[in-house]
């Protein structure tokens, strides 16, 4: 099934298994969601569990927090990840601090369709993970394939903490693959090695996983074998999997669609610089978007996004450092 269908299937499975799981958000019920992820849920589970809300991201997330405190397992949808900034206060000040301040657990999931590549322009294309990566108390996941889209969603719903589930719009219908049945989870906090390789470690996530895999195939034609790691969970980071790989390859390239400055890659690079400096044979390299909003026109958007050729060249250069 597609990445999009895998998310919907995960939601349906969780709702069938646990009557406390509810879905709320803008246009999620009767309309089935702006991208049709929640299509059919209203018909199966009814309006008490599939709740159409007004345009009010802070209201939606706040209500999800309150419901979670009362034992409901809400899955709140931000129609686009770009809109999550309207709920920033509820996420970072309320949900994320609850456990630390009072021991009150907030088991909730916020789904947010993110990313560029669909010509959405500055307000419908953003990568928002770095805004939240700085906040203790949250977890952040971003699947790259249907199996993880389903498995990470089930893990996020089962987790007792607030989990930000970032789903990439450009992968919705472009990615197809096998998924598990039932309630099989992709455990949070575990990266996946998508392609083994001896020469260079490429750490990435989201849509860039696919561009990195394409780049790694290109580099292989030049005799360079890159190992590609899909982080899957961004917070907490699976530093162990990265460390094992980098210790072996001694060369690391970090690739993300989000801007470089202050991004997830900066934290990974800092960690590797602090802890694996003597294991490295080359400087840590990063590829990400420039310091601009996400532009609309296809030519600009393509220039904004790292492409497979750029990544392949970086892999080869790094291997030959």
């Amino acid at each position: 099934m597609t990445y999009l269908e895998a998310i919907g299937d995960g939601l349906r499975s969780a709702m069938r298994a646990d009557p406390s799981v509810v879905v709320l958000g803008e246009d999620v019920g009767a309309y089935g969601g702006a991208f049709k992820v929640t299509k059919g849920l209203l018909e199966e589970f009814g309006p008490r569990r599939v709740i159409d809300t007004p345009i009010s991201e802070a209201g939606i997330v706040g209500a999800a927090i309150g419901a979670a405190l009362m034992g409901v397992r809400p899955v709140a949808e931000m129609q686009f990840a770009d809109f999550i900034s309207c709920a920033f206060n509820q996420i970072i000040n309320v949900a994320a601090t609850s456990a630390y301040r009072s021991g009150g657990c907030v088991p909730m999931v916020i789904r947010a369709p993110c990313g560029a590549g669909t010509h959405g322009g500055p307000f419908h294309s953003q990568s928002v993970e770095a805004h939240f990566f700085h906040t203790p108390g949250l977890k952040i996941v971003m699947p790259s394939i249907p199996a993880d889209a389903r498995g990470l969603l089930l893990a996020a719903i089962a987790d007792p903490n607030p989990v930000l589930y970032l789903e990439h719009k450009a992968l919705y219908r472009s990615q197809r693959g096998e998924v598990a049945e039932g309630l099989i989870q992709t455990p949070l906090g575990h990266a996946a090695v998508k392609r083994p390789g001896r020469d260079v470690t490429v750490v990435t996530y989201g849509m860039m996983v696919h561009r990195c895999l394409e780049a790694a195939e290109g580099a292989a034609r030049d005799g360079v074998e890159a190992e590609v790691i899909d982080l899957r969970t961004l917070l907490p980071l699976d530093l162990e999997t990265i460390t094992v790989s980098v210790t072996r390859t001694a060369r690391v390239l970090i690739v993300h669609e989000d801007r470089l400055r202050g991004g997830i890659g900066a934290e990974i690079a800092a960690h590797l610089g602090e802890h694996l400096f003597t294991s490295l044979d080359a400087p840590i390299q990063r590829i990400g978007a420039p310091d601009t909003p996400v532009p609309y026109a296809p030519a600009l958007e393509a220039a904004y996004l790292p492409d497979a050729d750029l990544i392949r060249d970086a892999i080869v250069r790094l291997a030959r450092w």
Partner: protein
């Protein structure tokens, strides 16, 4: 803003028929406990025993106690820094209050929070949310949970009139209105948001705004615990039986600064004096004596009881150890720690 004020000699609202004389004395007892505990905290603050800031609900006792007393045993409330009486009515041990101010591990926050920022206390007192306005969608969410499970339970939020200027109030109130959630919004209009007077916070009468949400709203004397209780009881009963949100404006006056660091010199002296003459605690005590539900000797005994309870709670908190710095990074994520 003072034309709605009554004088101290004005009679209180008639007691709600559900309230027995014992209930009335319990209301007074809770109000006395809030006042006595806050007197002690103010004293500790000026002695330098409180590391952080000091906020009280001086003058808000009738609202906190009256509104929370209208809730049923399975209902919940989102409370703020002026609502000690509501927390006490909902079952918070007074020792937590002192332990939280003193930064001791006896508090459910284990020193991570100060002031009256205590929440997550059993299922009845929601997580404390300090950002003004942010508690409204969360209280609506608690009500949503009751609606999802079709439980006859009600959520209440207590907050100041400054909240009405925030976007999150609007989002929460609107959500509750369109989803017909069992929510009671209790607004203490104490006429100032820190130093900002009411006419710079909201334009026009507060209750009139609620017509825009299609929400029943009323305005009561917030220094009359019986009036607050009656209005809250009606709203709680309506939320429980037919659903939907209600709004209650409780007119009062903040009798001290925003915090103890604020001398409140911006408050006109005559206005303050007028409201000091309408002290909700003294007024209710006098009312109970006048209506022969309480003797002067019983009133004296209630005050002595409150003082003894404050002494015991304070001593309990002082005996509670400060947090171990080794605990600094514990509990950022859920530990499944049961509610205290």
């Amino acid at each position: 803003m003072t034309e709605q004020a009554r004088t101290a000699s004005d009679p209180l609202a008639p007691a709600h028929p559900n309230l027995t004389d014992d209930d009335l004395r319990r209301l007074l007892r809770a109000m006395l406990l809030q006042r006595t505990a806050e007197d002690r905290i103010i004293k500790l603050y000026y002695q330098g025993a409180i590391a952080g800031a000091c906020f009280t609900g001086y003058g808000h006792e009738a609202i906190a106690v009256g509104a929370a007393s209208a809730l049923g045993p399975d209902d919940v409330a989102a409370t703020l820094h002026r609502d000690l009486g509501a927390r006490l009515v909902l079952g918070m041990p007074l020792g937590y209050y002192f332990a939280n101010f003193l930064g001791r591990t006896g508090s459910p926050t284990r020193g991570r929070e100060g002031n009256l920022h205590i929440g997550g206390l059993g299922p009845r007192i929601l997580l404390h949310i300090d950002h003004i306005g942010a508690s409204i969608p969360v209280a609506a969410g608690a009500a949503l949970a009751f609606s999802v499970r079709q439980e006859p339970r009600v959520a209440m939020a207590l907050f100041g009139e400054g909240t009405l200027a925030t976007g999150e109030f609007h989002e929460g109130a609107n959500l509750a209105a369109v989803l017909r959630l069992p929510l009671v919004l209790v607004c203490w209009n104490n006429q100032f948001a820190y130093s900002t007077p009411l006419d710079r916070e909201v334009a026009g009468p507060i209750v009139d705004r609620m017509a825009g949400y299609g929400m029943p709203a009323c305005s009561v004397d917030g220094n009359d615990v019986l009036a607050v209780y009656a209005a809250a009881r009606e709203a709680v009963d309506r939320a429980r039986t037919v659903g939907g949100a209600s709004f209650i404006e409780c007119r009062t006056m903040r009798l001290r600064g925003h915090s103890e660091a604020d001398d409140a010199s911006y408050v006109p002296k005559a206005l303050l004096a007028e409201w000091q003459g309408r002290d909700p605690v003294a007024r209710f005590e006098a009312h109970l004596i006048e209506t022969r539900r309480l003797t002067s000797a019983q009133a004296e005994a209630l005050r002595a009881d409150a003082l003894a309870e404050v002494d015991a709670a304070h001593a309990w908190a002082e005996a509670s150890p400060p947090p171990d710095p080794g605990e600094l990074e514990r509990g950022v994520y859920c530990e499944g720690r049961p509610w205290p």
